[in-house]
Amino acid sequence: MPKFTVVDPGFFTTVQDLGRPGLQQYGVPVGGALDTYSLRAGNRLLGNDDGAAALEMTMRGATLIASGETVTAVTGGKVSVCKNGERVPAWEALHLADGDRLAIGAMEAGARAYLCVAGGIDVPLVMGSRATFLRGVFGGWHGRVLRASDVLPLGELTYVHQTRVGSFVPLPSQARLPAAISQVRVMLGPQNHLFPDDALRVLCSARYQVAAEADRMGCRLSGESLVQNFQTDTISDGVALGSVQVLGSGHPIIMLADRQTTGGYMKIATVISADLPLVGQMRTGDALQFIPVSYEEAIKALQFCEQALHGIPTRALPKRFFHVLLRGENVRVEVSEV
């Protein structure tokens, strides 16, 4: 089976998939990729299942050396990708031969890049998922961030993966990245009725910045307080993905994949599913504005995302690889339609 040897792990790199839903009633967070759109797009590009495990790289990418042949794709935020020192495109299925060196640079836009690989990163399943959960020290690669000289087992390279080499995702179908002021759509509730009217007005008009403490648990925001001298504690209850909780200071925090399953802060609004990948791409200092939308609009936005994903791979170039025995020697042959 092919492997990746980590030369440089990057700033903060973990193995992530679509998480372990179904265990929140036992207090186990769902976890998984923060930008699920990019993860799924990368996996679809390669012919993997949507939930195949990939590397989630935050702020600065990893450098790896392949042992054995594989096919990869880098998706997510804007980042430079080099194969053996030569610049190659992201959002494209890329063939790696034994010994090839893949270097992913610093993020030029967005916060997270995903390195998807044929058959997925083949770490053991923990409670049905390969996602790393750092606080619990389980999942992924020994429950921790990657370090130099880790050797990651990769899934099996199949014929389907090989046929995808060279296919790519065109720009309009790539991930939405933060703008000067990103518009993040929310549905009000579930506890908006517990807040003074003023809080709702501030929520929908103020500009917020992503605070330095933002992490995989939650995207903490700084800016105008939603409430003053107001108790935001309530009886602990379930926390939705994208829940906008209001801390005691009056500042909102958007709850993300590694959030606690239950929480006692009031939840004024919820980021719609279609915009969660965008939140996952925001970094410290990025500005955002909340835009309230209806249930129907939220569903339409989600359908739009799903349709974009269904179109991937959109431009598969017909190119195939064969291994041929030539006088006892194994030779790799590339065949493409012209």
Partner: protein, 243 residues
């Protein structure tokens, strides 16, 4: 009346009441159980808490109004959905000493002896209102009000795995080592969270527990059995009395 709230387009909150109350909480677990048994298509998972149920669903398969109608239908049968027996798990605990560093302080602040504190803690059965905060962390309600104390002013940066703690009217067990501000009165050798088990949590929301004080020797004995995967906690079935 049950209240329904959107939490985005993929989560529905069913609020069964506005207080922490045993009978409301039993209905939360009854609704959770009934929904899971019914498995409407599009249902992803349910998260029960003190007085509400959060339903995770796929909005491209089932709509919020459809889910709401299903819950309304189930409400009519809530008396039937309630379990008629309580499952009470017995949790062995070594109280005080190094394993329960706050026991003496608790006794002092409540003007009780340490023996009285332990006696009060083991006397009652506690309902698992919900699991959260940490994987496998049970929120156990119904602590004797005489033991009610606020959380520590300065939380500990590291509470050891298995610590049995109290805060206000609650008691709980730390399933993983973590920071925490509850007062630690003892430790259990049982594993409350184990990724190799299915489900990974020793307790289920809606179950009950009772603590039993054990000697240092018995604690060590049980710890060895747990390590060898040969310990099963005693489970007692009690008739449920409904409010």
């Amino acid at each position: 009346m049950w209240q329904y709230y959107y939490a985005g387009e993929s989560h529905l909150v069913v609020e069964l009441g506005s207080t922490i109350d045993l009978s409301i909480n039993s209905d939360v677990h009854a609704l959770a159980g009934a929904l899971v048994a019914l498995q409407p298509r599009g249902l992803r998972e349910v998260v029960p808490s003190y007085r509400s149920l959060m339903i995770f669903y796929d909005p491209l398969v089932i709509t919020a109004p459809e889910l709401r109608a299903i819950c309304q239908g189930l409400m009519k049968f809530k008396a039937i959905c309630r379990p008629h027996q309580r499952e009470v798990l017995e949790i062995p605990v070594r109280y005080g000493g190094e394993l329960g560093p706050d026991l003496e302080q608790v006794a002092e602040e409540t003007s009780l002896t340490t023996e009285e504190v332990v006696a009060m803690h083991v006397r009652r059965a506690y309902a698992v209102y919900m699991i959260g905060f940490l994987p496998g962390f049970p929120y156990l309600g119904g602590l004797d009000p005489r033991l009610s104390l606020p959380r520590l002013k300065v939380p500990r940066t590291k509470v050891p795995t298995g610590s049995v703690a109290i805060a206000e009217l609650q008691t709980g067990v730390y399933p993983l080592s973590s920071p925490g501000g509850w007062r630690i009165i003892g430790r259990t050798p049982l594993r409350f969270f184990n990724i190799a088990e299915s489900p990974p949590s020793l307790l289920r929301p809606g179950q009950w527990v009772r603590f039993r004080s054990v000697s240092g020797d018995e604690y060590a004995e049980i710890a060895d059995l747990v390590k060898a995967n040969r310990f099963r906690p005693r489970v007692v079935l009690m008739d449920a009395e409904h409010a």
